[in-house]
Symmetry: C2
Subunit: 321 residues, 2 copies
């Protein structure tokens, strides 16, 4: 079975690990979000791609969900001693190597997709990981700074990591997305998929950004195979992260049903909500999306595998309908 | 008193620390060798400048004489895990920060001299450290590889660090030196100096490279102030490093007297040899260079300070003559 998964960072990566356990023989292609990429210290950093790669490759810091295990932060300390920031972005000594190799390969002319493949040669994540695009896309967020009242457009990472989404996101713009082309292999993987899954990743800044690359949304809608998603919102709050903050920016309420409606029945065939949101199943189905209520707390690998299994089961239901 | 010192790496840096103790009120300008600079992992590394900066700024690994104290090597381990080398060049996690800041500033358009000044803002070495040139100069070495018999031109660092000068250097070429201009401040510092010193640095690949930048040798010869050097060769062997290997390439025998003659009386006014080489004083003086035999083993800071004191004393003798 060929499965295509659109993935952001931590939620996507942990779901993928569950999917690998639930469907060990599946041929999985991951289309990774690159809208949260950022240039730091002259280096190209791709947090979501790396989180997927490290998580599936056994190099992740399990507790925090991002960055490397057994990590030190000496280089960052020294940059701070030189007065070179930002200090709010946590790059460890081991993690830096990934960004140095990536930057060197990009400078030598390789596209990001080829670089990602080369990095994965080491990590062997067991999936084919493709960035959504080789073109630069950077998600920016419009905010009003609380102290000065100044309206400012900042990089998504500054909003997410430095401000911790503490002020409302007034607009979320994937800069460059309109001009971006899907990376080589993206449309082909979608066209050849048997199932397409949206993990419980952020519907705006992760999956939304991938869908903003012209051609990807259309290819998924036209693939003619079940497209099933898992709600990142459980009981009106995001399971992790601060998805509610960016949902408000696109005028979507922070509920499992509203996110399904936001994707829409033109794209989504099936939707899993958590058991605490069972009462919302009817509303989702009324929107033309088949819906089931199952446990969606990804507390460990077993839970993630059960969620993946439920998603595949719903996909088969959709296919049989 | 304004002192100009031409410096390579470890020997130059340790001598400078002695000079600061011997002459605490002196205004010292260091013209640093950049011929051993190398691009590694897309970063600009300036080993000699950094050794001077770290040594005088209190950040050096005292035992090995290069690199940072309290260092870890996680980034390098990870680069090796990606199959990205060279592995023979020891860049530590803390040291990497210097190269990242430097590379970022160079990419932003700052010349190396401005970058070096910015890095020294942190380290406060107590001297003004200027690279010999803002232009790229890279010392290359012609060798015959012992296994294959292949004649090859390699970067000086590859000769020195990877091969440990284990094969004869057939030629030493400071590539780019002929087209290089002295960095801003170099010629001015020389013109305003009261004394010019050559520490016991490598006469070919350190001081020789600095002198190969058009204008520097001439400025020193024309400065009209005492120019005094200290022999890096003691009892026919280099005190440290492998200076003899590269002296052979330029047809100079590995003796204190031969090195003095190599600089020549047109450049050098005074020369210190070690007491074990006292018998050679006459030969050096016959070449028109005032010479004294004093202990030249730079075993600790006191010894370095005594050597610096002897050099300054000889300079005053030259001036009075």
């Amino acid at each position: 079975m060929r499965i295509v998964v659109l993935a952001g960072g931590i939620g996507g990566a942990r779901f993928l690990r569950g999917l690998q356990r639930a469907s060990p023989d599946a041929d999985i292609t991951v289309i990774g979000n690159t809208g949260d990429d950022i240039h730091l210290f002259g280096l190209k950093v791709c947090p979501d791609l790396d989180t997927v790669m490290y998580t599936l490759g056994g190099g992740i810091n399990e507790e925090q969900g991002w960055g490397r295990t057994d990590e030190t932060f000496h280089l960052k300390e020294e940059l701070a001693a030189y007065g070179v920031g930002p200090e709010w972005f946590g790059l460890g000594d081991r993690d830096f190597a990934t960004h140095i190799v990536r930057t060197q390969m990009l400078s030598a002319g390789y596209p990001l997709s080829a670089v990602t493949e080369a990095l994965c040669d080491r990590w062997k994540p067991g999936v084919r990981l493709i960035p959504m695009s080789d073109d630069r896309v950077e998600t920016h967020v419009a905010v009003t700074l609380p102290d000065s009242g100044e309206r400012k457009v900042i990089h998504f990472q500054e909003y997410w990591v430095r401000l911790r989404a503490s002020v409302p996101a007034e607009a979320v713009v994937p800069v460059g997305a309109e001009q971006a082309k899907p990376a080589p292999g993206v449309l082909e993987a979608i066209a050849e998929a048997d199932v397409i899954l949206f993990p419980p990743s952020n519907p705006v800044v992760s999956i939304g950004t991938i869908l903003a690359v012209p051609g990807i949304r259309e290819a998924i809608a036209d693939a003619g195979v079940p497209v099933v998603g898992l709600s990142p919102i459980v009981g009106d709050a995001p399971v992790r992260g601060m998805a509610d903050k960016v949902l408000a920016a696109v005028g979507v309420e922070s509920t499992a049903a509203a996110v399904a409606e936001h994707y829409g029945s033109g794209l989504l065939d099936g939707w899993l909500v958590d058991t605490v949101d069972a009462s919302t199943v009817e509303r989702v189905e009324a929107a033309g999306i088949r819906c089931r209520a199952v446990p969606l707390m990804m507390s460990d690998l077993d839970a993630a595998a059960r969620m993946a299994h439920e998603a595949l089961t719903l996909a088969e239901e959709v296919r049989g309908a």
